[in-house]
């Protein structure tokens, strides 16, 4: 019953139809797809449906809404030109492109990009955030609905290394987490008008994590904000904090959600479950052996998967946080892995995609595909396709 209720809430919140991938790490930010037609062996000749040249750099993930794919990138000597691109998912052809001038600072680490945050959609609109804190809302046909220059509004909210937090949309509110040493805030921006519904101050410390969406004890969706101080679960309608976890957390990999549990990169991984016994949440376990590096954890069924700095994939059980097995992969990784069925899809920084069969006792690499370009961004899965993006290209991988 609880699961059914969760699914109903989920569908109401996201207004999704099958195959959409509307935000960073897809539905609920979990990094798990229910697609069944994603190939488990990747062959350049058989499985690449199309490869589209992009007009600029980026490490944001593509998002998929219906038969359209949306991706952001930046161009120019200082990445001051911001692009929002819409492609036909069937053949990769361009449907429309909008370009904007950055209104905020664009300085960032050479490895990353101003197009780091993944855009988000509520199925009707595309909301694209850039590291310059420029935020654009367009309809699916590219008509501009509203825009914000958040660094003009809040001039100290910048990080010389760049920002990467991807916004989420819940209940008509775009939750934008922008936390830097100079200024830190989370704004709940009305998805219809572009005006602030609320804005809360946050710890002034650089933070690259993205918000997650979790069903609260009362059934309403909460947005969990991760930072060096821990987790703050807020009501997306008001920005009011509902509960907090104060034992600290990472500022790079983001939490993963599965069902009513949040898996937080904190002291390794800490599992926090929505509680129904009157307490706001229940801490299930802490597991230092599951510590992730840059990539965020992924939870598939009763297993959690993390990647460390050495490119080792660690599998733990979600009941106790016990480490079950480890598998050395070809790293290093910045991109978060995604799961579809019993397979995990990973791509390293050199652009080598790897597929791990999770049904094997200790996991097994069953396929590799060298895409030939550095890849930092997390892939996407939607509409029967697996998408990888580099600074130069977007690939769609399908079953042959």
């Amino acid at each position: 019953m609880r699961r059914i209720l969760a699914m109903v809430c989920f569908l109401v919140v996201f207004q999704v139809w099958g195959g959409d991938w509307l935000q960073f790490r897809g539905p609920q930010g979990a990094g798990v797809s229910d697609e069944t037609q994603i190939p488990t062996t990747l062959d350049a000749k058989k499985n690449i449906a199309w490869k589209k040249a992009l007009p600029g750099r980026g490490l944001s993930s593509a998002i998929i809404v219906g038969d359209r794919v949306f991706v952001t990138c930046t161009s120019g000597p200082n990445q001051e030109r911001l692009h929002v691109i819409c492609l036909n998912a069937a053949d990769g052809s361009s449907l429309w492109e909008r370009q904007f001038w950055a209104t905020g600072r664009t300085t960032c680490h050479e490895k990353i990009s101003v197009a780091a945050p993944t855009p988000v959609s509520d199925g009707k609109r595309i909301i694209a955030l850039f590291s310059s804190n420029d935020l654009f809302c367009l309809d699916l046909d590219g008509n501009l609905l509203w825009l914000r220059g958040l660094m003009r509004d809040y001039p100290n909210a910048s990080n010389g290394l760049g920002l990467a937090s991807s916004p989420v949309v819940v209940d008509g509110v775009v939750v934008t987490q922008i936390e830097t040493d100079g200024e830190a805030f989370v704004a709940g921006i009305d998805a219809t008008t572009g005006l602030n519904r609320w804005k809360i101050d946050r710890p002034k410390k650089a933070n690259w994590t993205s918000p997650s969406i979790l069903r609260g004890a009362q059934g309403a969706m909460l947005v969990t904000l991760q930072s060096s101080t821990g987790i703050s679960a807020i009501d997306p309608k008001t920005g009011v904090e509902v509960w907090k976890y104060s034992d600290g957390a990472s500022t790079v990999p983001s939490s993963a959600v599965r069902g009513d549990t949040l898996y937080v990169p904190s002291s390794g991984i800490t599992a926090l479950q929505t509680s129904t016994d009157g307490q706001p949440f229940k801490q299930l376990w802490k597991a230092s052996q599951l510590r992730p590096a840059t990539a965020s954890p992924v939870v598939v069924d009763e297993r959690i998967y993390t990647l460390n700095d050495a490119g080792v994939l660690t599998c733990g059980d979600t009941t106790e946080g016990k480490r079950l097995w480890q598998l050395r992969l070809k790293g290093p990784f910045s991109a978060t892995p995604l799961a579809a069925g019993q397979h995990l899809y990973l791509v390293n920084e050199k652009g080598l995609a790897q597929v791990v069969d999770l049904s094997k006792p200790e996991g097994q690499v069953v396929s590799e595909l060298d895409l030939g370009e550095p890849i930092i961004g997390t892939p996407s899965i939607g509409g029967g396709g697996l998408y990888f993006r580099s600074d130069g290209h977007l690939w769609k991988i399908i079953k042959s």
């Binding site: 680490h109 420029d134 501009l144 509203w146 830097t180 572009g194």
Partner: protein, 387 residues
């Protein structure tokens, strides 16, 4: 009227456009004056977005001939409004190209060639031409090496850099040297200036890069003051209240005085580690006099990995409390008003208590430029007095 959601207003405009003619035809500039005014009124925190969206419904259904008028309105736009108008132009252009109708090239070309038009608007017009007729746009670039639009100028300079490299590949070192020397004075983007300087040095030429980029090199510094726990960023130490170059101050470890610091770093960095040795939990002030022949608005462009604050003639311009994230030339652009004669630039730069090897830098780089990035040198510097 505009308190309601954006979508509430949209249908009437969409319907009007659909029922009317599909494209509203421009009769005069007056037709668009009000929607353009509305869009140019967008301001902080999303104020004016709803009104701008409604105004857009008038603009985006216009005929492509109206594009130059929308572009011209960019002269009155703030940076946020510029993006609204850019979206309007792109939407019109996309629909127009898809319909197969001829583009108003002559009008757009005239707009591009009129250098008093807004730089970004000219660049957008140029890009519209490029999409349909890249050969013509490429030819237009030939006359743009001294253009007031940074983006057009960059592309024109880049073409000449390619020509200079071609001369090099043909073993014409003299020709390449002359062309690179010419380009050094024409380029404004730092990456281009840097690349040209490297090419000239490879050809045996001497290039004073800090001077070329216009970094301020003559400073007087006072410090260190206490910044344990980061308190120096907010603390108002005496130099910040009033600069007295003859004064003694109570510093972190004793009396401190102003002392001369000549910056000689290739990247223009003014390193506080030179006079004070590497310290932690400290703040220091840097003072420079800048002489201008006339009153004018300028950019003060600063790069630093340290927390800083900048004042021009006692007026606070900007500060950022961030340590050891990144440093880049022109990382922070501040607009200031120079007065005729002597101007005082004061920088506070703070060092935190991080102990990693990569956290030892305690410096900044600063130059005065026009909006295009053309270095403006102190009159004294230009006459040789500063170097």
């Amino acid at each position: 009227m505009f308190n309601r959601p954006i979508y509430f207003h949209a249908p009437c405009f969409l319907l009007a456009a659909w029922m009317g003619c599909g494209e509203l035809s421009l009769k005069s500039e007056v037709d668009f004056a009000e929607p353009l005014r509305v869009i140019n009124s967008v301001s902080r925190e999303g104020q004016g977005n709803a009104e701008a969206f409604v105004a857009m419904q008038t603009l985006v259904f216009a005929d492509a001939k109206s594009i130059p008028i929308i572009l011209a309105a960019m002269a009155s736009s703030n940076e946020v409004a510029l993006n609204w108008l850019r979206a309007a132009v792109e939407t019109i252009a996309q629909r127009h190209v898809a319909s197969g109708k001829p583009f108003p090239f002559v009008e757009l070309g005239k707009f591009v060639l009129e250098t008093s038009n807004p730089p970004r608007a000219r660049r957008l017009a140029f890009e519209l031409i490029s999409k349909v007729d890249p050969l013509t746009s490429d030819r237009l670039l030939t006359g743009m090496v001294n253009d007031p639009s940074p983006e057009l100028r960059r592309e024109a300079v880049q073409k000449l850099i390619q020509q200079a490299n071609l001369s090099l590949s043909e073993s014409n070192k003299v020709g390449a040297t002359l062309l690179f020397q010419q380009l050094l004075s024409l380029a404004r983007d730092v990456d281009q200036v840097d690349g040209i300087a490297k090419s000239l040095r490879n050809l045996g030429q001497v290039v004073d890069l800090p001077f070329t980029l216009g970094f301020l090199t003559q400073w007087k510094v006072a410090g260190p003051f206490d910044s344990i726990g980061g308190k120096g960023f907010a603390a108002v130490y005496p130099p910040e209240a009033q600069v007295d170059l003859a004064a003694d101050y109570d510093g972190k470890t004793g009396k401190v005085r102003w002392q001369r610091l000549l910056n000689t770093e290739e990247d223009g960095s003014v390193s506080m580690n030179k006079p004070y040795t590497p310290l932690k939990g400290v703040a220091a002030y840097a003072y420079s006099e800048f002489y201008s022949e006339n009153a004018r608005v300028v950019d003060l462009r600063l790069g630093s990995k340290n927390a800083f604050k900048v004042w021009l003639n006692g007026q606070f311009l900007f500060g950022q409390e961030e340590y050891h994230r990144n440093k880049a030339i022109d990382q922070y652009r501040m607009t200031g008003q120079l007065k005729s004669g002597r101007n005082i630039i004061l920088v506070k730069v703070c060092q935190n208590e991080q102990t990693e090897d990569w956290a030892t830098e305690w410096d900044f780089q600063l130059r005065v430029c026009d909006a295009l990035g053309t270095p403006i040198r102190s009159v004294a510097a230009a006459s040789g007095g500063d170097r």
